[in-house]
């Protein structure tokens, strides 16, 4: 049981970080960013290039991923989403744009980084073995702690920084925030850049554990959507809760249901359908509570 809980917590921390970026973008702009998974993959490849190809320290790779994805996110918001949102009142326009960006990023990643699975060497060697009750490699523990630290840092940023408060105001009521003097365009761009940066950071963190490949973008987006549906779209605490709940469900399911074949996600999806039928807004309700 201890092993199941440890696996669930580790999975939950990485999932929550993935979901945070997605929910931030959704709350600020009402955009379902289908390219979130591709941004995660892009971030992983940036870290891989910096660490494995250029031989620089892992932390440099991680910072490079954060910077590249923040710039990419900012540019995507300014030159793609902003004009589309301004000109089109239909929500599906931004959905189609996001899907288009996902395909575009897939093609760019293939061109720049190739089709192969990539990974960087372990950043910490050794395995924690607590009396055979919990077996956890030290690098996973480190990545889990880093993920939780980033989540806490993000919450503090949103709570106490000027930009964070502006973005929260924007998420609560876009019109009211604008009337109160919040620069909507500026903070939308910062929010999108921050969301993309979080995706890039997770990609950079996990490239040391799981590696990265071209095909990981789509499934990652699906899992991220799953998490924010559980927690409630556009709610930070909901994304975190959704991430940890999904991680724990996966860990428990893979251990307890192993004898019945690969039915863990079947059970998760069935449970989610029932849950959404009862509580369609997810656990935490509306944007920012």
């Amino acid at each position: 049981m201890e092993q199941i809980l440890a696996n669930g917590l580790y999975l939950g921390a990485q999932y929550a970080l993935i979901a945070l970026g997605l929910t931030l973008i959704f709350s600020l702009m009402n955009v379902l960013n289908f390219a979130h998974g591709q941004m995660y993959v892009f971030g992983g490849f940036v870290t891989y290039t910096v660490v494995a190809q250029f031989g620089l320290p892992f932390i440099v790779g991680l910072l490079a991923s954060a910077a590249v994805l923040a710039v990419l996110g900012g540019l995507i918001e300014k030159f793609l989403f902003r004009p589309v949102i301004r000109r089109s009142k239909r929500e599906e326009s931004t959905m189609l744009l996001a899907a288009g960006i996902a395909f575009f990023l897939d093609a760019v990643i293939l061109l720049l980084f190739g089709e192969k699975q990539r990974g960087v060497p372990k950043i910490v060697n050794g395995v924690l073995n607590w009396d055979m009750r919990i077996i956890m490699p030290y690098d996973r523990i480190l990545i889990g702690v880093l993920a939780i630290t980033l989540i806490v840092g993000f919450i503090l940023f949103m709570q106490y920084s000027r930009a964070g408060r502006a973005m929260r105001a924007l998420a609560q009521d876009r019109m009211a925030a604008q009337l109160m003097g919040v620069d909507v365009d500026r903070y939308s761009m910062i929010g999108f850049a921050l969301g993309a940066m979080l995706a890039g950071l997770v990609g950079g963190l996990l490239v040391t554990i799981t590696g990265i490949n071209l095909g990981m973008g789509g499934p990652t987006s699906v899992k991220a959507f799953l998490m924010i549906m559980i927690g409630g779209a556009g709610v930070i605490s909901g994304a975190i809760a959704g991430g940890f709940i999904l991680g724990m469900m996966e860990s428990v399911g893979l251990t307890l249901l192993a004898a019945y074949g690969d039915i863990t996600y079947l059970v998760i999806f069935a449970t989610l359908m029932v849950f959404l039928a009862i509580r369609p807004q997810g656990l935490m309700g509306k944007p920012w509570g």
């Binding site: 696996n7 799981t210 590696g211 095909g215």
Partner: protein, 395 residues
Amino acid sequence: MKRRHFLATTGLSLGLALSVTTAAWAENPVLKIGFVGVTSGPAAAWGISNQRSMETRAAWLNETGGVEIGGTVYDIEIVAFDDQKDPKRAIAGMEKMAQDGVHYVVGPNVDDGAAAVRPVAEQNGIMYFPYAFPKELYTPPASNAILGMVANYQSGPAIYKHLMDNNGVKKVAFVAANESDPLSQRDGGVEAATALGLEVVSDSVTYQVDTTDFTPVLLPVIQSAPDLLVLSGVSPANAPQLIRSARELGYTGLISTETAQDATVLMEGAGDLANGFISVGGASTPELASDAMREFVDRYTKMFGEYNDESNTKVYALEYILETLKANPAAITDVEAFKATMDTFEAPNPFMVGDAKLSYVGTTSFGQKRQVSVPLVVNEFRDGKFETLFVAQVD
């Protein structure tokens, strides 16, 4: 006036460019060979190594004057279609090949895609070379598919027997992705292991291909304490993570697979933890490779930046098509002539040293010759590269 002058110059330049291009193409007639396979998504490495092998070999042949078939010299053009590992897309790809008048297609790469295109290929007179293992594709009454590699039910027993004899393996566990290819390979592996007298201690654990943490997946498998852990049909993307998780959980036994892997990917993803991992290699080793094979590797690397060990096998399909057409030029438009030639076909193998031959095999497994003959090379990963464990031949 200036505008008119500009338009006239542009028109003239375009006309000249077009005529030069047409003249260049008109030098040799073009023989189109198709590829329908997966070049995107998690299994992209399988199809891309196919496509790039074909493109490298075609460019090489065209550069050296083309291929003479029945007194006519052809330039080879590769027509590629990404089926995205989706059977519906594979059907669309094969239909496109039929519309383009292509009679010889390499691919698809996976079981369901290869099975899905069968009616289209048979109705449109297309011979195709899948990298998929369902026996019904190659056994009568089917006759248009030719297996492009060694199947898992041929390599698996050879590997298990070797490990029983040399490493004293008695208990085996299987883990597979929850997809048609790996699951069918797992079932074939379980059957082969049981037939050899091995005790199968775990065969029900499966995983999603997008799994990011294999620790919970492998925990029950490792607890069953196998001597050999078989990663059935594992993709190059998942293999390093599975190996790493198994070793980190304290597993010290042997790990093997019947699919081809990539040494760089294993090294980057699992490092020294992958030492001792046994896999089916590309159909070449330094001892077997001819000068032509080395030149192929060199050209591939120059064209695409990085070589893929799987291309040691995937270089062969195009060679078999062209050499069989040379043996019977009527087969260019008539696949029945191609089939008739296969039974007696034999040609020098340019990619192996000695007097190795290209020929069709498969009578033992399929009751007819519907498989290309390539060496079964079983590798062991050691310190960043593959070392040959043993080499065998299949019929």
